[in-house]
């Protein structure tokens, strides 16, 4: 068997200024056969990107390849000169970076950038390259393949840009493509499309690939072999099915376990029951910007008539794709983003829209834990000072008293007391997020708003944080609002879940029933897009999706349901004009959809379009009209 890539005993060191050389990659050996896809798996700092870049003969500033051999398509990369490397990169091996949004030059049209590798290497004429590019666009399932090249980066979505970047990597017909976390920054609904496009293009062209990721479910879909890395060393390598199904290394086992967090069982299921005392209640909250309309409400709405409630001691999950208003909701509840209309009730008292007009007691009882652990702690303050400030501010504790209380809080989040004298820069991401949590707890809150707190963490660390959250809830009886785009996390920590789409709550349901029962079409799309950790899932999901799905529309509806253009049970004439009715199901769940709840129950596992007859919903237009315009009926 010929190996397209063969790395043996690779050593890479990093050096900070005149400091000693620190090994980043130690004794790594791996082989990739022609036409195969190898996944490099590991948490941040495991050296996976460093290894991937070394295949292109590149070491990041401050790093150097200090030993070993890298054979790529018959070239010994470590001995190549700068000139040879230039001819080699982009031609024999190309690279797809993580964040396509920042990888394109905003001042040039996309087509110019996509054919640039071919132009730089003089491998084909402009006309040939453009022809090739359009073929690739078609293969990657991009809309309007003939004309999309004339557009500019800001006009396209993240998923489209990621596919364009793949086209750029493939335009020179390279033998090898290195993908560096290409779907990490994407929403799940987009990720599945990008993955499917990547896979079919690579298979058609017999390209050898290296795929860097930390997401094991993605690995299961796209790779043949996998290498698990930790601290720059190989922990385990072998076929993907082996590694995921039967991991032998302890660390791999831990990783696999972190991806299979058991669903939450602690809280009894029917929490939507109104008899339980609610901590927070939102009704008809509108947040927006732009001119005011006749009713004095903003024209452009980020949140549109959002109504939610959080029962005491429970966790409400908020899910939705980027831009759906999740973070604005957190800012609104915490008083950083005043609302234009609606009412927010906290522990029975109405909250003022502006933080300055809330009482200290209200602010104390409602704490926010923000998304990015790296930015939420003041880098100039020691950890102790950050926590003690909250203790002094809200509880009047000073000196030794505050110090002891801060130490007690560190115990609570399972961190050593020594951290109190450290600066945030000296802590790891997971530690910072725990500190962040401890700081919120310092105020003895009733409700903690968690805005994507696990998004930037490695799976093992994230799983530990989620566990800690649940544990503290049991001990202290805190309520949480848990904002995320990670459905696994929702199932692990939430009792209820609210699904946001385009600033509207399209569904409010119990989190354990996400895979069963009636759901909003968007919820079903979301749930069916979360990769499962088994081979063949992607094929199944894509087949199911293509079967029952009409083409997405490019135009936004003028009124009615915001999900209309992407909906698989849409009824033109009804859904895009009339106000959306909210159906209340027997269990207390709420779904905002025209289609009757009975018809929204998934048909088997595939999540495709159900064959139920659509019955009209009371409160909407006449039954005849609905039935008449509905393509799904009869």
């Amino acid at each position: 068997m010929t190996h397209m890539i063969s790395v043996s005993n690779l050593e890479i060191v990093g050096r900070r200024r005149h400091g000693p050389a620190v090994p980043i990659v130690r004794d790594v050996s791996l082989d990739v056969a022609e036409g195969q896809m190898l996944a490099l798996i590991g948490e941040s700092g495991s050296g996976k990107t460093t290894i991937a870049l070394s295949l292109l003969g590149h070491a990041r500033a401050g790093c150097a390849i200090s030993g070993g051999r890298i054979m790529v398509a018959g070239h010994d990369v470590t001995t190549m000169t700068a000139g040879e490397l230039r001819a080699f990169r982009g031609r024999t091996i190309s690279y797809v970076a993580q964040n396509a949004g920042t990888a394109f030059n905003p001042a040039l049209s996309l087509g110019q950038q996509v054919i640039e590798p071919a132009r730089v290497h003089w491998s084909m004429t402009r006309a040939q390259a453009e022809h090739k590019m359009i073929d690739l666009f078609r293969a990657l399932a991009l809309p309007d393949p003939e004309t999309i090249g004339a557009r500019y980066p800001h006009q396209l979505s993240g998923g489209q840009l990621q596919r364009l970047m793949a086209a750029m990597a493939l335009v020179t017909d390279p033998e090898i493509v290195v993908f560096d976390e290409p779907t990490t920054a994407l929403d799940v609904t987009t990720q599945i499309e990008v993955l499917a496009a990547f896979r079919s293009v690579l298979a058609d062209r017999g390209i050898t690939g290296v795929y860097v990721t930390h997401d094991l479910a993605v690995v299961a879909q796209i790779a043949d072999h996998a290498v698990v890395l930790r601290h720059g060393q190989v922990r385990e390598s072998g076929p993907v099915a082996e590694i995921l199904g039967n991991p032998r290394d302890d660390y791999t086992r831990e990783l696999v376990a972190a991806c299979r967090i058991p669903p939450r069982t602690t809280f009894p299921a029917p929490v939507l029951d109104r008899a339980v005392e609610t901590v927070l209640d939102l009704s008809g909250v509108i947040v927006g910007y732009g001119r005011l309309d006749a009713a004095g409400l903003p024209e452009r709405r980020i949140l549109d008539e959002v109504s939610l409630s959080v029962p005491r001691g429970s966790t409400l999950g908020i899910i939705g794709e980027s831009g759906c208003g999740k973070s604005t909701l957190a800012r609104t509840i915490s008083g950083l983003q005043p609302w234009a209309a609606g009412q927010v009730t906290f522990r029975g008292e109405a909250l003022a829209p502006d933080i300055a007009r809330r009482t200290r007691e209200q602010r104390r009882r409602l704490q926010i834990v923000a998304q990015n652990a790296d930015m939420v702690l003041n880098p100039a303050w020691r950890i102790g000072a950050s926590i003690e400030r909250v203790l002094t501010f809200f509880r009047g504790l000073k000196g030794a008293e505050a110090r002891n209380e801060a130490a007690r809080l560190l115990d609570m989040v399972r961190l050593p007391h020594a951290l109190l004298d450290r600066l945030p820069g000296e802590l790891s991401g997971g530690q910072k997020q725990r500190i962040n949590f401890a700081r919120a707890l310092a105020a003895r809150p009733d409700l903690v708003l968690c805005d994507e707190i696990t998004a930037a963490l490695d799976p093992v660390v994230a799983a530990a944080i989620l566990e800690l959250m649940a544990e503290l809830q049991r001990e202290l009886g805190i309520s949480y609002i848990f904002i995320t785009h990670d459905l696994h996390a929702v199932r692990a920590v939430c009792d209820d879940v609210a699904v946001l789409y385009g600033g509207k709550v399209v569904e409010h349901n119990s989190s354990q029933s996400l895979t069963t029962g009636a759901h909003h079409p968007y919820t079903r799309l979301l749930v069916s897009s979360v990769p499962e950790m088994r081979a063949g899932w992607l094929t199944e999901a894509m087949t199911a999706r293509q079967a029952g799905r009409p083409e997405p529309l490019q135009v936004a509806p003028q009124g009615g349901c915001r999900f209309f253009p992407r909906c698989d049970v849409r009824m033109p004439g009804t859904c895009d004009h009339n106000p959306v009715p909210v159906q209340i199901l027997p269990g207390g769940a709420r779904i905002a959809c025209f289609t009757n709840a009975a018809a929204l129950v998934p048909d088997g596992d595939d999540g495709s379009c159900p064959d139920f007859h659509n019955r009209p919903i009371s409160g909407t237009d006449s039954p005849e009209e609905v039935r008449h315009d509905d393509p799904a009926s009869f």
Binding site: L336, I355, Q367, M375, N378, A380, F393, F394, R439
Partner: protein
């Protein structure tokens, strides 16, 4: 056990260099063997000798003594004007990130106005109008360099004000003053230090320019720029008296610049 010799940190080195020049400005004249105005030799533009370590100037005065006094005035005037410009600029720059928008509108346009006038021209005009007392010099130079400090500190503060820890402090309900002094300012220290140093260098150059044109420090007082001007005739004789003050100006400005560059390199 290995003995570790720790070099002073970048910030300490900046402090040490500034400290050196300040000490020289305060106490240097005590070392001067002669009074600055005293004519002690008949030979003008005398070369270096054991009597006059740095030679004599165009009137036969001891250059070493005059140089020590010149350093005093240059450094002190520039320190005072830098303190004025950076004090006003930073205060205003940081404060406007937390005040209503119209305050920034007014302050910002005022600063833009000052910034649009060439600094040397502005100084010439003000001194022509208000005379050339030391106080006028300090204030003029202070005002001229305020917009720069304002712009830099405002840009820095705006970046920090968008950080999540400021959001957290605001959600806690902290007051504006607390946020400015405790949350924002400590994080601006490094870049601000570099900026203050840079303004000091600008001030040295402007003062030297003014004095060279005869509008800066007036006789009998003396600063580095006026030393160059009054001895410029010595250029044809290759006199020490004109070369040395220029070298001192260069050492003062370039030295501080180099140390500051080292701190900037450290951070990135």
């Amino acid at each position: 056990m290995k003995v570790r010799v720790s070099l002073p940190s970048a910030t300490q080195r900046v402090g040490m260099l500034f400290g050196f020049w300040l000490v020289l400005a305060m106490f240097g004249p005590l070392l001067a063997p002669y009074a600055p105005g005293q004519i002690i030799d008949t030979q003008v533009f005398a070369p270096i000798s054991h009597q006059h370590w740095l030679g004599t100037d165009y009137l036969g005065r001891d250059l070493g003594s005059r140089l020590l006094y010149a350093v005093r005035y240059t450094v002190l005037i520039c320190t005072l004007s830098t303190a004025f410009s950076c004090g006003c600029g930073i205060l205003l720059g940081v404060a406007t990130t937390a005040t209503p928008a119209w305050v920034e509108q007014v302050a910002g346009r005022l600063m833009d106005g000052i910034l649009s006038i060439p600094s040397l021209l502005c100084a010439l005009l003000v001194i022509a109008a208000f005379g050339d007392s030391l106080m006028a010099l300090v204030l003029t130079m202070g005002v001229i360099y305020t917009p720069g400090a304002y712009r830099t500190s405002r840009a820095l503060a705006l970046r920090i004000a968008r950080m999540d820890y400021i959001t957290v402090a605001m959600a806690r309900g902290e007051g504006r003053l607390f946020i400015i002094w405790r949350e924002i300012l400590p994080n601006m220290r490094g870049p601000l230090l570099a900026d203050v140093g840079l303004r000091f260098i600008y001030a040295v150059l402007l003062l030297s320019n003014l004095s060279f044109l005869g509008l800066g420090v007036q006789p009998p007082l003396v600063d580095l720029g006026s030393l160059v001007r009054e001895n410029v005739l010595g250029l044809v004789y290759g006199a020490v008296a004109v070369v040395l003050p220029t070298i001192v100006i260069a050492v003062l400005t370039v030295g501080i610049n180099l140390v500051l560059d080292a701190t900037a390199g450290r951070r990135s």
